[in-house]
Amino acid sequence: MTQVETKPQIENFEPTILVFACNWCSYAGADLAGVSRLKYPSNVRIVRVMCSGRVDPAFVMKAFLKGADGVMVAGCHPGDCHYLEGNLRAKERIDKMVEAMQVLGFKVERFRLEWISASEGKRFAQIMTEFTEKIRSLGPLKP
């Protein structure tokens, strides 16, 4: 099977944004953004996981390798986690990953960890818009 890189040229650059969203808060926040008809860039692709604590930092690295220009992990606010503290575990691991990314000279702005609750549809849309614009301004990961 032939595969074509999804990357277009730098002009008219449309970044690909991958978001890992936890089922209970952030995915629900995305649902509310939808129900409230709040627009955000179509560059965003959401992958549902049960808990942000399920996201292996390796997923994030692999997503970059496979062509994502920006990656986000979104979970419940501290204290809201459906699994009590999965989000805190996620933060511990991801903080370490970000440190490693920095050491390797990777632009850490391409990655974000956000807490978005089920009632923050508006915030979900805002964060997606802002993050997409940020990545757009950074340009493609693989030019």
């Binding site: 099977m1 032939t2 595969q3 074509v4 999804t6 449309e14 690909t16 991958l18 808060c25 995915y27 629900a28 995305a30 649902d31 509310l32 953004a33 939808g34 129900v35 409230s36 008809r37 709040l38 627009k39 955000y40 179509s42 692709r45 959401i46 992958v47 549902r48 996981v49 049960m50 808990c51 604590g53 399920r54 996201v55 292996d56 930092p57 390796a58 997923f59 692999k62 997503a63 496979k66 062509g67 994502a68 204290g79 809201d80 459906h82 699994y83 009590l84 503290e85 999965g86 575990r89 996620a90 691991r93 609750s117 089920a118 009632s119 923050e120 549809g121 508006k122 915030r123 849309a125």
Partner: protein
């Protein structure tokens, strides 16, 4: 008692109380009819933005419960129905109810919202507390369409028409919604119908209505636009409220910078026949003030109060944070009136402070928020007339302090605010308790009204079988179809090798589509199904059961969210939306190839319970469990049952502690299912939910669940106010014990001695001490009216009906003098007490013959037991429940529950309903005889695991344990440590998977391979010329 008993129950009221009671009944196998007068369940809690004291998002924690109710096979939802009349006898009642015309067929409506989108008429928005929206010209307009879905997360998600405003129903003109409704659900011919159901018991959870602030004319609510109620403010704060979470003044849309909260509006007010304290308002006002500051740090918030009643768990600490961290201003005062500045519509608050400032003070505010009290709901009349319940003068259901969940009608139980004002955790615990009482009445007919769904034999699908995928791309009327080219996406899907069927139905969730899916499974031999429609959070259960009906394992299904994630958020961007839709469906196809059938294992459990602690809470739990038919072991450390209640000769409600205990002991003796161990402790423990093993008095006992009710005792205030040195300084408890012997003429009582301190562990308010002091002051005054009693206090926290006692003490002449943290009272070596009276601005001195200290309750030693059961304790050393709001009697670990003062200080009545509540949580677990594992749970590959134990440390549910296994290697035995997952406890969060350094753990349904293959496929667009193979993830043998 009826001759034919029915194993069903009617729960009247669909708020959080009704929801909890319904779930607790249904989980045991009772059929539940949940009747709600509004078009959706959820009650008042769905209107809240956040909840105190943790600032949890209300919808985040309530939403999953709403869905649990909806998908529960044993719950029938009767929304938009008003109960009318009850006849029959306990065990067999007939309840008549009015099914109000919705003008929408509930079976046909898919909740797509097309009708609401197109309806041209706007009406008052009750859900958003009548707040207006602004039209394009900035004029105030009502906030809701005539036909609408109650709120985004409504259950059921079905539209309704407000008939009195509908142009078609009134004049026969319009009819747009009917034309626009794809599934043909709009039905203008619907009429109100009277229907009836037969049930064995009734649980009343009618809740409250907020006090109508218009009744107090001096506050000008409804006249001055910038005076709002706390519920309105809640909607202004909420991101899905009418302003999108922006706090703005109704008069000019400006952001208010100075906001006043006025407490006790419609509570603690004898003129309005509302003597009671509404119990929740202080905390929700503090919460809203904090949230206002979080939204806009420039806001100055002022709370005008009489007493701050922060008496619950974590409340006092929350109050202190409001003062110290958020700089909220608290002004102890009495409000005289609100005036409006006509120029800028600012509000002038006129008040009299308690600091002795002469005359009336004024303060100009941008906005005023009225903390409206909790009135009995408008259904109180129905309770009195049709259920024949006894109501108090104020309209709450009357209950006995020892039977707080029972009414004057046998078989009719009550919980939540219907019986007295209370906050959410107390309501939830009571709701569980009421369910316990109904379960006891109907114990012999449990399971008789429900039907097990018969499913066909499952088609065997093994990982080696070629995936045969069916894809359905739903139009959802115009919702998806107007943006996404559904036919093209279906066509696109077909180009993948493993996709053998694809179609684009108009409504994938409609009943006829389920037939289409089942037929397609049969005809095309599908072994995976993908539906691209809306969110899995609401629709996955429906499609999963369709698969099951067709004989396919429910886990061989995936849902792609085209509506919420594509069409609704990317309208007018057809190209990009279609591209995204194709990316998402491609990811799902790849993922589907690797889906495996999963089975929810039935893990048998021991149908016996253990209760630790033989105080009033533990005795109640044991009695309720035994009466519901479950054998109970009851362990008490002391030589007799009774706990602290034995030591309280007279309670504030007139009951005598020892008499109450004697009665309960007799009941326990007569209960053959209870085995009592006094002078005993649990010596050893092993196992987990369903199969615990313990040792008591050297004897092994086995049990499936446990309730910890270890209680609390008064703090010993050594070193406070000469206690321990001066013989005339005693605690309230000591005064009670020696009441007959001590006959003081002059008494000073000092409140908050050793509680509400700055440093942990006793930072909390001990909830009961104000009432205890007031009770004792009344007893002293009643014995000797000439005695002088001075109560030195910080805030008097007589919440709910206890306020009556406070009023009585004041009438009898008890003198209440307020002190503050900066000016604590002192006792000198002569026994003279000095206190600064703020009101008079002078130091008062009195030399009493008795000083009585009000000390907090502190938990009895619980550390060892906590470690044994791996149960957490809070900073206050009380046991820590799973969630302070919605799981007040559960521990985070399955099968372990708590009750009584081991959780937090409380009155005996509260310990009783908590004891009952904990009992029903155990019943729900034991009733089935097995635990069903979640299916999508963790699995440890024993060959790879090296027993490091990191997974055990991160598992929040204690579902992983290290076990030592002996492995025979050639000639010698090797001991190896391996992690083992308890399938009955694992919730499938997957945090252990990421922790494992050697990748020995996988999580079913969400293994690394499936998640990775899904996002890789989303990110990689193959060039499609002819049929291509989806990236089939290689599947490991289980």
């Amino acid at each position: 008692m009826a001759e034919t008993m029915l194993g069903s129950v009617a729960v009247i009221g669909g708020g959080i109380a009704g929801i909890q009671a319904s779930l607790d009944m249904a989980d045991q196998g009772f059929l539940v009819h949940l009747i709600e007068s509004n078009p959706s369940i959820g009650g008042r809690m769905v209107q809240l933005d956040k909840t105190f004291p943790t600032l949890d998002c209300a919808m985040c924690i309530l939403g999953p419960k709403l869905v649990d109710v909806q998908r529960h096979p044993n719950i029938r939802l009767l929304t938009y129905c008003d109960p009318q009349d009850l006849s029959g006898s306990p065990g067999n009642f007939t309840l008549k109810y009015l099914k109000k015309a919705r003008y929408v067929d509930e079976d046909k409506c898919t909740g797509c919202g097309e009708c609401e989108e197109n309806c041209p008429y706007w009406v008052d928005d009750e859900f958003n507390e009548h707040l207006m929206r602004k039209d394009k010209k900035g004029r105030d307009k009502p906030g809701r369409k005539t036909v609408s879905i109650p709120f985004p997360q409504a259950v059921p998600k079905v539209a309704y028409i407000q008939a009195h405003n509908c142009a078609y129903l009134k004049k026969g003109k319009c009819g747009i919604c009917k034309k626009k409704c794809g599934p043909g659900a709009i039905n203008y011919e619907q009429k109100d119908e009277v229907k009836e159901i037969n049930v064995g018991a009734v649980i009343v959870t009618t809740g409250f209505d907020p006090f109508d602030a218009k009744e107090i004319s001096s506050l000008h609510y409804g006249q001055f636009p910038n005076v709002v109620t706390t519920l309105q403010f809640e909607r202004l704060l909420n991101a899905s409220g009418p302003t999108g979470g922006e706090v703005i003044r109704p008069s000019d849309q400006k952001h208010p910078k100075k906001i006043a909260f006025l407490q006790c509006v419609g509570s603690r007010n004898p003129q309005l026949n509302r003597n009671y304290c509404s119990a929740a308002c202080c905390m929700y006002a503090i919460k809203e003030a904090i949230m206002a500051k979080e939204h806009d740090p420039d806001v100055e918030a002022y709370i005008y109060y009489m007493d701050i009643r922060a008496f619950g768990k974590g409340f006092e600490e929350f109050y202190q944070r409001a003062i110290n961290e958020f700089n909220i201003h608290f002004i102890k005062s009495r409000i005289s009136e609100i005036r409006e500045n006509p120029e800028n519509r600012n509000l002038i608050v006129k008040y009299e402070d308690f600091k002795g400032t002469p005359g009336i003070s004024t303060e100009e505010m941008d906005m005023v928020v009225l903390s409206t009290g909790l009135d009995p709901s408008s259904h109180a009349e129905f309770l009195k007339r049709d259920l024949k319940l006894e109501l108090s003068d104020t309209g709450f259901v009357v209950t006995d302090p020892l039977k707080p969940l029972e009414t004057n009608q046998e078989g009719v139980y009550v919980c939540g605010v219907a019986s007295s004002p209370k906050d959410i955790p107390d309501t939830v615990a009571e709701a569980s308790g009421a369910a316990a009482k109904a379960s006891i009445l109907l114990k012999d007919v449990r399971g008789t009204e429900i039907e097990e769904k018969k499913l066909p034999r499952e088609i065997k699908v093994s990982p080696a079988d070629e995936p045969r995928i069916g894809v359905l791309v739903c139009h959802c009327g115009h919702n998806i179809g107007s943006v996404v080219d559904c036919a093209e996406v279906a066509e696109y899907s077909k180009q993948f090798d493993n996709v053998v069927y694809a179609s684009d139905p108009m409504y994938a969730c409609a009943a006829d589509s389920q037939v289409v899916i089942k037929d397609a499974i049969k005809e095309h031999k599908l072994n995976r199904v993908i539906v691209a429609s809306c969110t899995p959070r609401t629709h996955e259960p429906l499609f999963r059961s369709t698969l099951q009906e067709a004989g396919l394992n429910e886990f061989l299904f995936d849902l792609v969210n085209f509506r919420e994630q594509v069409s609704w958020v990317h309208p007018h961007q057809e190209d990009e939306a279609n591209e995204k839709a194709k990316d998402l469906i491609r990811g799902a196809i790849t993922r589907a190839c690797g889906l495996e059938p999963l089975f929810k294992e039935k893990i048998p459990i021991i149908k016996k319970a253990l209760v630790i602690g033989g105080g009033v809470a533990g005795m109640t739990s044991a009695l309720d469990l035994a009466r519901a038919g479950y054998p109970v072991y009851l362990i008490e450390k002391e030589d007799q049952l009774g706990g602290e209640l034995l030591k309280i000769p007279e309670l504030h409600n007139g009951l005598k502690g020892p008499e109450v205990v004697a009665q309960m002991r007799k009941e326990i003796e007569n209960e053959p299912e209870i085995t009592v161990y006094t002078n005993s402790e649990l010596e050893e423990l092993s196992g987990a939910v369903g199969k615990f093993k313990g040792v008591v008095q050297g004897e092994e006992i086995q049990f499936g669940a446990v309730i910890l009710a270890t209680g609390a005792e008064p703090f010993t205030p050594n070193g406070y106010y000469n206690y321990g040195n001066a013989s005339n300084v005693v605690t309230q408890r000591e005064l009670e014990e020696r009441f007959d012997e001590l006959d003081p003429q002059n008494v000073v009582m000092i409140q908050c001695v050793g509680s509400r301190e700055e440093e942990a562990p006793r930072t909390y308010c001990s909830r009961i001490c104000c009432t205890a002091a007031i009770k004792n002051s009344i007893r002293i005054k009643e014995r000797n009216p000439n005695a002088n009693v001075f109560v030195l206090y910080k805030d008097i926290r007589t919440y709910g009906d206890l306020e009556e006692l406070y009023l009585k003490a004041r009438e009898l002449g008890t003198v209440f003098i307020r002190y503050t943290d900066d000016n604590e009272p002192s006792v000198d070596s002569n026994g003279t007490v000095t206190v600064f009276d703020e009101m008079l601005g002078v130091n008062l001195q009195v030399t009493p013959d008795l000083v009585v200290l009000s000390v907090p309750l502190v938990p009895k030693p619980n550390e060892e037991l906590g470690q044994m059961f791996k149960c957490a304790r809070g900073a206050d050393n009380f046991f820590l429940e799973a969630h302070v709001k919605l799981r007040p009697i559960d521990f985070a670990t399955d099968g372990i529950f708590l009750a009584g003062t081991s959780q937090f200080p409380k009155f005996s009545t509260e310990a009783i309903y908590q004891g009952s509540g904990a009992a029903v949580r155990v019943m729900a677990l034991l009733a089935k005889g097995f635990i069903l594992s979640e299916g999508a749970i963790a699995n440890v590959n024993q060959d790879i695991c090296r027993g490091c134990g990191r997974c055990e440390q991160v598992c929040p549910f204690k579902a992983i344990e290290l076990e030592t296994k002996t492995i025979r290697m050639e000639t010698q035995d090797l001991k190896m440590v391996k992690a083992v997952v308890n399938e009955g406890v694992c919730k499938g969060c997957g945090t252990c998977v990421v922790t494992c350094p050697v990748s020995a753990i996988t999580i079913k349904h969400f293994p690394d391979k499936l998640i990775e293959s899904q996002f890789e496929s989303i990110l990689t667009r193959p060039e499609l010329t002819e049929k291509v193979e989806a990236d089939t993830p290689s599947v490991e043998a289980p």
